[in-house]
Symmetry: C2
Subunit: 168 residues, 2 copies
Amino acid sequence: MNESIVLKRRSVRKFKSTPVPRELIDRLLEAGCAAPSACNRRTVDFYVITGEEKLKEISDCGRFTKMKAPLIILVVGNLSRALPLQLSDYWIHDAGAASENILIEATALGLGSCWCGVHPQKRMMQKISALLSLSDKQIPFSLIKIGYPDEFPEAHSGIDEKRVHFVE
Amino acid sequence: MNESIVLKRRSVRKFKSTPVPRELIDRLLEAGCAAPSACNRRTVDFYVITGEEKLKEISDCGRFTKMKAPLIILVVGNLSRALPLQLSDYWIHDAGAASENILIEATALGLGSCWCGVHPQKRMMQKISALLSLSDKQIPFSLIKIGYPDEFPEAHSGIDEKRVHFVE
């Protein structure tokens, strides 16, 4: 069987400074757009940040987001496309799927990536919203650092048996 | 460049009745376990359901979960391993990443899959928790239908330009 790209994905926190070519950025966005969304509402927006100053400003918004990377994709839930009432929170599922798609596609393209959580940390959400002039319907969900890796963690393997339950 | 497995993933709702071999179920669980989790808390549990009666009982818990499939993997957040306070909600990010990993690995293995949302629909969550005797710390997040596909939607392609914003 082929090597699993899903198992190969690891969180990378050290990146080379080499910019990510636009062609690869497009591939990552295509992967994000291809994620499933509840009732196909496609609630997720993507902000691509490559300018040095803006990268630093965004990175300074959180405690664990300061590592340097030449590219950030910010995954944002857009409530103007959300389902009604109790189902409105499905934007969070959509944003999770889109974030993971980007990480896996990055791995397939030879890039490293790290998913940094933003939502539901209010102060961090406010700061990022202000920096990117998001509307009050747009909720920053995750901030994904991306670049050519400068560290190479081993692929995952095995099942964590205590987390798995079989039901006949 | 290779064909992207992320773009190939589509929601499949028609499955052959052929059982999914245990070896492939293990690969799916390995993919789920390999998902990133906030501060590596690994908050996600997995319930593997293959018995005909239990498959039907679980499938009857939701309006959009009734399609027949020989395998369900239920992705469950386990709050006993969650981060404290405001950060406790990161189990939802973890569960989203684990769910998407399973869908993509299924695609790589030639299986079809469909992510059906459970959380935050209270009544559905209660029914499933009762059927599987979950603890009050375990929150059913998604119910993933899996099997050999009996429909073959085309791969995704392209970027949804209105959802993408470039920031220098």
